[in-house]
Amino acid sequence: MRRWIPLFVVAALGVFLYLGLYLNPKEVPSPLVGQPAPDFSLPVVGRPGETFSPTDVRGEVWLLNIWAPWCSICLKEHRVFRELIGDEVPIYGLTWKDLDREAAPMLARNGSPYVKAVDDIDGRVAIRYGVTVTPETFVIDRHGVIRMKHVGPITPRVWDERFRPLLRELQT
């Protein structure tokens, strides 16, 4: 029995390494959940002179979706927003570092899934939200508190499992 112990130790190590392969290192718990959404005031994409701030939608449940025109997964996510989610909840976009100024024509061409999309050209507001990748989506409640952060694209399944139950709870 004793002589098998090293084998067991190595096997246990192997199991941990194998399980580690399936963990997503990008999924880091955000300390912002449960905290008030950081405030900002940014120009609205495609509407010169207009600005948007989270205080404008105080009293509403809304989503803040971080996207960028150079992020192809975000564009796929837009299709999900347009076709599936419709008007379940207002979605606001935060356009991250659109250095090539593609966002406005792109949203005009494809149809914007957002009520409004703001222009965070230097990425400073995204930093305040602890953004690491696009897309990321925050669920913000009536009191302006972040209730959930989702990293990665929203698929129909993710919507059904993570978003819809929470939104139903927050909206009633």
Binding site: R3, P6, V10, V28, P31, L32, R124, I127, R128, G130
Partner: protein, 179 residues
């Protein structure tokens, strides 16, 4: 089995070896304010670049890392202390940005683990040594056995016809006729 243990030990040893670290040079330094830059770099080596997770914020050239360094510069220019800068980053990205996570209930295993393993190792070593010490002494060699050993060693020099001492139960010395 011996060799199996040895291979397992070698594998564990390999896993324990640190990867060669590239020289940690700050990426794209800013020459405007050398004092502030030195402060930034001292701080940034202990901060994780959140997009390229195994690089520090000091080494990374990822665009988010550049933005974050700019953000830190700005906070420092506004007169925030190093602790306040780190706090504000932790508030957004969590303890994950720290390469030296704070000691708290969630990280007890992380900080205490190595010592626990060290104690286990010491325990195993002590138990092994204790068992080895309490093993019975090897039986003392009887005078007959010694005599027979001496005879075997000298048997080459012994002239033909020499009589071997009889030992009951012991191996029979080769007779000189067989040579």
């Amino acid at each position: 089995m011996r060799s199996g243990i040895r291979i397992a030990a070698a594998l564990l040893w390999l896993l324990a070896l640190p990867l060669p670290l590239s020289a940690s040079q700050p990426a794209l330094p800013n020459a405007d304010d050398p004092v502030l830059e030195a402060r930034l770099n001292a701080l940034a080596v202990d901060l994780r670049c959140v997009v390229c997770q195994n690089e520090s914020l000091a080494e990374s050239r990822a665009s988010l890392a550049l933005d974050l360094r700019e953000e830190i510069r700005e906070m420092m220019r506004d007169g925030l202390t190093d602790e306040e800068v780190v706090e504000s980053l932790v508030a957004r990205y969590g303890d994950f940005v720290l390469y030296r996570p704070p000691v708290k209930p969630l990280t007890y295993a992380l900080w205490g683990g190595p010592f626990v393993f060290l104690l286990i190792g010491i325990g195993v070593a002590a138990a092994t040594l204790h068992r080895r010490r309490s093993m019975p002494e090897s039986e003392s060699i009887s005078p007959e056995a010694l005599r027979q050993a001496a005879w075997l060693l000298q048997s080459n020099d012994v002239s033909p016809g020499a009589q071997a001492p009889e030992t009951p139960g012991g191996p029979r010395p080769p007779s000189s006729q067989e040579r």
